[in-house]
């Protein structure tokens, strides 16, 4: 096996970073206003909370429309294709190996930037939790379009409860997501790639040669 060479490779292009951080900001706005609407804090009055929550949600949905288009057209969606290969190893690492001081079993590749567990988690987030919160949220928001249905008040209650449940599940994801930034490298090192776009990736000579030749912009020039 040929020797690996560590290079700074752009793994998060500009749109992806924009998507990530604006999504983060909107999710925090939604969580903050949502908790207020449910009476868990009184830091914002109900009326403004509803307005901000609605606008942030619509903005996030719009962002998602662009993100889906981007994933499909750039082929980025392949990063989220689930695989069982190495999945168990990563799970075992977080549950056990990490306490023994073992190394993280996953080797990041420029064409596969997430570890299998990460990819599976993000996929579940994107395919289950996010659609669930949009659908329940839009149905909730559009109550007046279906209020004449039988038992609509009861169904509104069901929709509201589901919406809140999914919101807490997303909050739980945020907790785990932020915590895992402390695992391995320092927190700052983990966050930096999502700001600069560049992460340290061990490249095979072939990979490096390909990038040098065909996608030079994705490689940071090595300091001489």
């Amino acid at each position: 096996m040929s020797e690996l060479h560590e290079r700074k490779v752009k793994v998060y292009p500009r749109f992806e970073r924009f998507w990530h951080w604006s999504q983060m900001a909107l999710i925090f706005v939604l969580l903050f206003t949502g908790l207020g609407l449910n009476g868990l804090h009184g830091l914002i009055p109900f009326g403004p909370a509803v307005m901000i929550h609605t606008l942030a949600a619509l903005a996030l949905i719009l962002l998602w429309v662009f993100a889906i288009f981007w994933h499909l057209t750039t082929g980025t969606w392949v990063h989220y294709v689930p695989t069982t290969e190495g999945l168990f190893k990563v799970a075992r690492f977080y549950a056990y190996g990490i306490f023994k001081g073992e190394h993280h079993p996953y080797r990041k590749a420029y064409w596969r930037k997430h570890n299998p567990l990460q990819a599976l988690t993000y996929l579940a987030l994107k395919l289950i939790l996010f659609p669930a919160i949009w659908v329940t949220g839009l149905v909730y928001l559009g109550y007046n379009f279906w209020e004449s249905a039988p038992d609509s008040s009861l169904w509104l209650q069901v929709v509201a409860n589901l919406h809140i449940l999914v919101a807490y599940a997303i909050a739980a994801f945020v907790v785990a997501h932020v915590y895992l930034l402390t695992v391995g490298h320092s927190f700052r090192e983990h966050v930096r790639p999502m700001i600069t776009g560049f992460d340290t990736v061990a490249l095979t000579p072939e990979e490096e040669a390909y990038l040098e030749q065909d996608e030079p912009a994705r490689l940071k020039p090595e300091r001489s």
Partner: protein, 540 residues
């Protein structure tokens, strides 16, 4: 209100002002009419009585008396087409002075006629018994005697219907001044219902003669300056706006010019989606199918410095001092410093309120009265008039009400509310003269021709008065969290889901558990990492 102004900026604003114009014209501007009644020969004479004036009016306005006689203003009787109940002042019992029957000349002082002194008969038949001046006098000095069965005072003796010392009315001056009714005409009776200023309704008081904008955005003297008739449109002397059969949800909207002269609803001018098309406006418009305009736009009633009576306990009436003289207490101090009665030997104990937060209820427009033939359950608070409606019936909306609390007499054997005879200076049965409940009730029941066991007690009552006047400027409308809160204004309304009001549901509880599990899991994981000093391997 940005909402209203933007919506009405176009044609509808013009329509609104066109609508208001007759009202504006008649107040102090009688000259705008095509007829100057002071030039009419038939009015250039001294009149000896109210009916004499009416005869002169009818010599030109040939159909007017007949039209008036078809109105509730005249008949004091209303057959509710929905419930089949026969209502109206002639028949119902209320939580104030109770009933008209047996107390005629006092109560019928506010009848739009002259000389109706017996409720067991319809109002007087002759056309000249119609009182034109009470509505059409624009001289400002026509009034009715408090105890004259509708006749005006012709000498300075007694009291008027507003409780003022009477003066000698100049009938000639009144007759020559006639025009469209102004607030003074309607207010003279309607602001003083229940025996005094704002006693009964809570949202109709002398504060509306010249209200500021914050008291009534429509009637503000320096604003739109509406009269009552601007909204309470009429056709052949019959007016829109019934308290017995309320148009609680007007889905007809504004209509076109020339259409709809039949309702006094907010929607008939503002439409059913009056808020602007913004994120907020759309959400507010979403409310109009379940929440009456009044609920948000009349944040409190009895505004403008005139208190309303909120509680009336008849059971304590009749106490006399050691000399056998009636007692009075005036413990309530109105915001203008005026002291109001809190006890009268004639009427019992009272409570008053200013800027009162309404009682809220689902309302479909139907009001069912506990008339004297209805059996009551004295172990419960008796609803003198029951508000119809329920969430989810597709019709009802949440409305504001004044909920009058009372304690009034009932027949303890038959379990009926009773009629009482309170006014009658010359009788030995009237309560206000003799302070004897037994005789007062017996006389009242006899006058009404109702069955009575001879045994009476007192029962707690509620009476509901829909609140629809004193609309505040939009800036004073209720904020969302007034209702969308755990302990908000609608906390006691059950049977429907309302965001922000409900306690945490299963979704919230399960979700919080998931979040807590995630936080605990992460904290545990971090603790074990620290304990084992496992740095958490790098990728190398």
């Amino acid at each position: 209100m940005p909402a209203l102004s933007s919506r009405l900026a176009g044609a509808s604003l013009a329509a609104l002002f066109a609508c208001a114009a007759p009202g504006l014209a008649q107040e102090g501007a009688a000259g705008k009419s095509t007829a100057d009644h002071s030039k009419f020969e038939i009015l250039q004479k001294e009149f000896s009585s109210g009916p004499a004036v009416t005869e002169a009016c009818l010599s030109c306005h040939t159909e007017a008396a007949d039209q008036v006689k078809h109105s509730v203003h005249w008949q004091w009787e209303f057959d509710n087409p929905e419930t089949g109940q026969t209502l109206g002042k002639r028949h119902v019992i209320n939580a104030f002075c109770g009933n008209v029957v047996g107390n005629e000349a006092r109560c019928t002082s506010c009848h739009t006629g002259y000389g109706w002194d017996d409720m067991s008969s319809p109002p007087p038949q002759q056309s000249s018994a119609v009182d034109c001046l009470v509505c059409h006098d624009n001289s400002g000095q026509y009034t009715k005697l408090a105890t004259g069965a509708g006749h005006p005072p012709l000498e300075a003796k007694g009291k008027t219907i507003t409780g003022a010392d009477a003066w000698a009315v100049d009938l000639k001056k009144a007759a020559q001044s006639v025009g469209l009714p102004g607030r003074e005409n309607c207010g003279g009776c309607h602001f003083y219902g229940g025996g005094g200023d704002n006693v009964k309704h809570g949202d109709l008081s002398s504060a509306l003669y010249e209200p500021t904008r914050d008291v009534d955005v429509h009637m503000a003297a320096d604003g739109l300056n509406f009269t009552c008739e601007t909204c309470h449109v009429s056709d052949e002397h019959v007016f829109a706006g019934s308290r017995y059969n309320v148009t609680a949800h007007d889905t007809g909207g504004t209509g076109l010019p020339g259409m709809r002269r039949d309702v006094a609803t907010c929607e008939s001018c503002h439409g059913d989606s009056p808020h602007p098309v913004t994120i907020k406006g759309v959400k507010l418009n979403d409310h109009t199918d379940k929440v009456a305009c009044q609920t948000c736009h009349i944040p409190s009633f009895a505004r403008g410095g005139v208190a309303t009576k909120t509680f009336w306990d008849w059971s304590t009436a009749g106490k006399l001092d050691e000399n056998g003289k009636p007692i009075s207490e005036e413990e309530f101090v109105q915001s203008d410093g005026k002291h109001l009665h809190t006890y009268l030997s004639t009427k019992g104990h009272f409570e008053w309120g200013e800027d009162v937060e309404p009682h809220y209820a689902w309302f479909n427009g139907q009001v069912e009265y506990t008339t004297a033939d209805r059996t009551i359950d004295p172990s419960q608070v008796v609803e003198v008039n029951r508000i119809g409606g329920a969430p989810g019936d597709g019709v009802s909306r949440i409305w504001p009400f004044k909920r009058m609390e009372g304690r009034q007499a009932y027949d303890t054997e038959l379990n009926h509310l009773v009629y009482n005879h309170v006014w009658g200076p010359a009788t030995d049965t009237a309560f206000w003269t003799n302070f004897d409940w037994a005789r007062s009730i017996e006389a009242g029941m006899k006058a009404a021709g109702a069955e009575y066991s001879g045994h009476f007690g007192f029962v707690d009552t509620y009476m509901y008065w829909p609140i629809t006047h004193m609309v505040a400027p939009s800036g004073d409308a209720l904020d969302c969290e007034e209702c969308h809160a755990r302990d908000g204004r609608l906390a006691n309304l059950a049977g429907f889901y309302m965001p922000g009001r409900e306690a945490m549901g299963p979704g919230g509880m399960l979700g919080l558990l998931i979040l807590a599990a995630s936080i605990l899991g992460v904290a545990g994981h971090a603790a074990i990492r620290l304990f084992t000093r496992g740095k958490g391997g790098s990728h190398e």
